[in-house]
Subunit: 547 residues, 2 copies
């Protein structure tokens, strides 16, 4: 090809008014021309001096572009012979339909010799004629004359659009909401009261000292200081029996459960979950290839039937302190039954203690883990509700003999870091800010809970009873049997009020009760009654009973 | 039981000099006595007034302990009849060996009636005699007379200690190191040069404004601002074709790959990995039930054989810009072959672009994703090497039509947060600090790399050649074939020098080359030569060649 043809083609397309540097434009254009075979393999490109002169740009720019193209394998530069377009046609896919045949790649590799992969391959010189391509012959101006369509080589972008079976199931069953706050989003604490000054002071202190050991990867299990502080807290506040070594810092309950099921279960294993339960953990279990068996709950917590007992699961996932989402406490008799059954059948139990700090009118209840004499309970909790969800710090208490395996697996699978934040959190707890923040928020949430219960009682009296309000961050308002709680939730959302339909938390349709999860924690006191009125309008408009 | 017997027993055990409050001690002791059946079901506990007087403690303390025990189900309080120890013996495990039999639980549930789980169960009054237990009869002082062994009920703590098959495989194959820095830890950047003042200034700015939307859960995909800034960066610096919507913020390459394989593959699917490759990702794939097929690499990158081609994988995981750990660049011809094969066989490709910013002597190479015309490449990268590992921010570029599914799945599976940190990072990039930090570190690492190569050359000349040094944070020093590189690494560790044996990165033993990964990035310039001397001692002491 004559240099002037290429120069003209390039000159037409270089946009000197663009914010994109000329270097980048020229590089992109030459790549395009080579990939689309408008500049075919074997073609000689003009010298940098010539091209620079013809385009009236700095020679250095052209040189740099050529160097980059050499590195990327688009062109080949040979001393004395000039610069040529490389053969960039794909390597042959060898024997895809002829298993066992020896192809070009093997031959090439055999020639390369030595340690496989330990020699940098020399770019191949393209054959003089474009043997392996059907491109137009080199040097014809015609192939460059068609107007350029930016991104034309990508016009036929037809992707393979199939999710896998587990991926499709995950998306179809996803329970995550697009909203993360506002009245009455369940499970979201009030983050506006967080003691940000204390937090920032500690944060700045650690950044000022700039300790490299806090900025690199976390050792398995997390920061030793936080594990110590947390072990003390859990022993005192939650009756958890543990040493600091048993504590594994995670990014929250999702990761804690993921870690436990990956270490303790295999694909296909049966897992008991409470029915209803938290949608997020059901997704985590399903995507790990497990076989969740939803178990009914009654006023004393999980309540397996004879059929359930007949097939011992590998793992049991429960919320003993405050059943999610219904709110009842697992009775002591039920706790002891569960531990005994787990001992007999060598099942693991995960105790999800997600919001036990917020119990109104009594102290928090002791953990199931503290009753466990056989080391079968894995206790999981998080700071998402007590401090703020975005913090992403949770913890897991591993059984005594498995602590080191859990620590290793967590480093291997997640390669965690965030040690500076862990140091800040440890000091925040050790200085007493954590317990005083919980105390403050407990008072605040207690008021809001009461305001909500009052609003509900004054509008509906006994007709729509609320339950689960003596702890946590939400109440469940029961709807009459057979009501379409999803329709109510949609009607509420149309009025900018977020509630979650209770029926969506059940795995077994036949069991699904109708109701609404109403979160009060993140709603300022004075907004609760008006927001409930709006919710009431949605209920009344949707339920025939109140029409 | 006579009140005085219980009082004496308690008085002996209350430690008034302890830092533990009397409330907590009394609570724990009564729980212990009930669980061990020393205080049997049906026994009446003394009135709070009487017990307080006998123990000489505040009556209010006793009342509070009793209230807590009522809540926890240990005792039952009836108006007029006093307080009794509840029947806390385990619920019966019904019909575990008789599938289909209807047991006590069902009966009880049927009696409870109404919506299952929507009534708070009344604590059961224990039967007058301990019908269901073999405990000593109520009221005998004998059962309380034995000296208490603290934690005696937990003495027989024999745990079920079995990891699952996949858990055991994970632990056995774990590649994670206990060390996270120092000479010559590969893959660890120098975090001491991080511009912490700028970072802290931005951090404080966001904390001062205390925006609740930055402290709650992340929307699927992460903070919009960061996704925008990152799309711009990736388009310009890495030739990635993407819109901000295709960017999914993750906690790093581990989570990016986890997300992609959970959405796009099913258990049992064949995955191509380069051999050698990064141990961490191999673990992530294995634990997801996938079937990794290690594919040889040569000087042009991944190099599948005819046998490999014959069974198309569901997904191909490659490091085109800088093969990990060997360091070669995937040739353009190989890239196009891979894309064409993936298109024909509908395979997904994950492009792991883990440290492409650090290329010495040339600009970073364009991404594979930018060549993809069929939307089959998932591009993953992270800030772990460019800023600091502990940051835990990575990103994934989803194929066009799947962006929303990826965003939903990431919120559903990981429930991420850290939006305030994402805002800080977005502003850090937008203000230009990111590119200037990379420029600075590239200069610094380039010097260190040269110091290392000089030290190696001056000690060993051509005998132990180094490769992969033109990019990244480590070089690979080849050892003579058949050398035990693990023994060398152990000898080095004994001298407090961390290097990783190359053979450990191979899945196929027959293919494993002998060598050492030597990381220079986190070693100050002046320490490189002395540290290499120490490494040299370890090599010379271990390899017969140099003995």
């Amino acid at each position: 090809m004559r240099a002037s043809v290429l120069s003209d083609w390039l000159a037409q397309r270089l946009d000197r008014g663009s914010t994109q540097p000329v270097y980048r434009q020229l590089h992109r254009l030459l790549q395009q021309a080579i990939l689309s075979r408008e500049l075919p393999a074997g073609a000689r490109v003009p010298s940098s001096r010539l091209l620079a002169a013809e385009l009236a740009i700095a020679r250095n720019t052209v040189t740099q572009v050529y160097e980059q193209l050499v590195l990327e394998g688009y062109v080949i530069s040979t001393t004395g012979r000039g610069t040529y377009v490389a053969d960039t046609s794909p390597d042959e896919i060898v024997g895809a339909n002829e298993p066992g045949s020896l192809g070009l790649d093997q031959t090439r590799r055999a020639i390369a010799g030595g340690l496989p992969g330990l020699t940098q391959a020399a770019p191949r010189i393209a054959p003089p004629a474009a043997e392996r391509t059907a491109a137009p012959a080199a040097g014809t101006a015609a192939s460059l004359s068609a107007p350029a369509t930016p991104g034309a080589t990508h016009a036929s972008r037809e992707a393979v659009r199939a999710l896998s079976a587990r991926g499709a199931r995950l998306i179809a069953g996803a329970g995550v909401s697009k909203r993360q706050g506002g009245a009455f989003m369940p499970g979201v604490p009030d983050v506006s009261r967080f003691p940000s000054r204390v937090w920032t002071r500690l944060h700045n202190k650690y950044w000022r000292s700039l300790r490299p050991d806090l900025l690199t990867y976390a050792p398995g299990g997390g920061l030793a200081l936080l594990r110590h502080v947390l072990a003390d807290y859990l022993r005192t506040a939650r009756s958890v029996r543990c040493s600091p070594e048993q504590i594994i810092i995670t990014t929250g309950i999702h990761q804690s459960v993921d870690l436990a099921v990956r270490l303790l279960t295999d694909s296909g294993d049966v897992i008991w979950t409470e029915d209803p339960c938290y949608w997020g953990l059901r997704s985590v279990l399903q995507v790990s290839g497990l076989n969740p068996r939803p178990i009914a709950v009654d006023g004393e917590g999980i309540n397996p039937s004879a059929e359930d007992f007949a097939v011992p699961p590998k793992l049991i996932l429960v919320t003993p302190s405050h059943q999610y989402p219904l709110g009842m406490v697992m009775s002591l008799a039920r706790r002891r039954m569960l531990l005994e059954y787990a001992r007999q059948h060598q099942c693991w139990i995960i105790e999800d203690d997600y919001d036990s700090e917020f119990r109104y009118g009594s102290r928090p209840l002791a953990s199931l883990q503290g009753l466990d004499t056989a080391g079968q309970v894995i206790y999981v909790g998080s700071f998402g509700k007590t401090l703020f969800p975005g913090l992403r710090v949770g913890y897991l208490v591993a059984p005594e003999g498995l602590a080191e395996s859990f620590a290793t697996a967590s480093a291997e699978l997640y390669r965690e870091g965030q040690l500076l934040q862990q140091a800040v959190l440890a000091e925040f707890i050790a200085e007493g800010h954590f317990t005083s923040h919980i105390r403050k928020m407990r008072g605040l949430y207690g008021q809001r809970r009461q305001a909500l219960l009052d609003a509900a009682a004054s509008r509906y009296g006994e007709a729509l009873p609320a339950m689960g309000g003596d702890a946590g961050l939400h109440v469940v308002m029961q709807l009459p049997e057979g009501c379409d709680d999803r329709a109510v939730a949609e009607a509420a959302l149309a009025r900018n009020i977020v509630v979650r339909p209770l029926s969506g938390y059940y795995a077994a349709r036949a069991r699904a009760a109708s109701g609404l999860l109403i979160g009060y924690a993140c709603v300022p006191d004075e907004e609760i009654a008006p927001a409930f009125d709006t919710l009431g309008e949605a209920i009344d408009a949707t339920l025939p009973l109140f029409a």
